[in-house]
Amino acid sequence: MGHIELVANTINVLLEGSSQQKDPTELPLSVALDSPNINIHHFLVAAQSSRPVDAAGNPWSATYVYDSGNLVLNMLYNLMLEATGRLQKCRLYQMSDNKAYRATVSYLIVRDLAHEKVFAKALETLGVNWNKTLPVPKVDTSKMPEVRELEELNLHNQQWTMTNEESDLSLIFNGDSPFKDGQVETLAGLPEGGAIPSLPDVPQEFAPGLDTELKSKVEDIMKSTKSKTRKRS
């Protein structure tokens, strides 16, 4: 889920400020018609924000989801998925040097490598010997400074259990990296993370679209006495 939120928030940050508040007749949303390569739906269907679609505008589809129930096959599917994701992010990296874009794409390049290792390791425990086949793609990250920085934090060799409870992840994800580039490790809990960007009103999109009366009703709710959540015993 975290990666979904990361990418969606990055898209929102990239869209932030792409239109200015003006009188409607001054065409504040003319940017939406700058095709090709602008997604008009970002401005028309969403309020200058992300959508669950791909870069061609195709809606997300459950047909993408593979769960065969067969453990070996699922591990192969997952490895293929992470490798393809990383390949695409390495291509995306080469399309823009916008800072927010680069920060997220580079983070995902490193994390997708870590995930490739998880499934490669799992398949190793089941008998596969990868030799020099992986990772996909073979990238010289010395030419990608943001990726290099994250690798220096060992982010490409770490997985978190993502729980406060016990996890057997460390039984698999330990020891030599399957790509012979260090030692992999399992850490308890969650990574540090960053703040979720908060988004301002965009009146030219009529978002959130609250007039003074509605705003004062919202303020009343926010000023009301302490939250009445009942704590579970």
Partner: protein, 88 residues
């Protein structure tokens, strides 16, 4: 999300109603952060936003990845629990 996961578990249990398994690990904790900081000091770039949609909703994007692992975890069969913990 947690309801969604419990629903998924219920569906699996329905098909296995003669066998009872104790598999009620909660997958999602809700923390108000993103995994990596997003710098906000650069110019807007709607074309880059358009390209990055592939990473979110594309055939090999994050939504698919999350759903794939979620269903593989919810529908997990058998005793190889370490492989289930892999799928978080």
């Amino acid at each position: 999300m947690i309801l969604f996961q419990k629903l998924g578990n219920m569906i699996s249990i329905y098909y296995n109603r003669y066998i009872v398994y104790e598999t009620n690990k909660i997958i999602f904790i809700s923390i108000n952060k993103v995994p990596n900081p997003i710098p906000r000091n650069d110019k807007p770039n709607p074309k880059a936003a358009h390209a990055l949609q592939e990473g979110l909703g594309g055939q090999f994007g994050e939504m698919r990845t999350m759903m794939q692992y979620l269903f593989q975890n919810m529908n997990f069969r058998g005793d190889a629990k370490p492989y289930q913990d892999l799928l978080r």
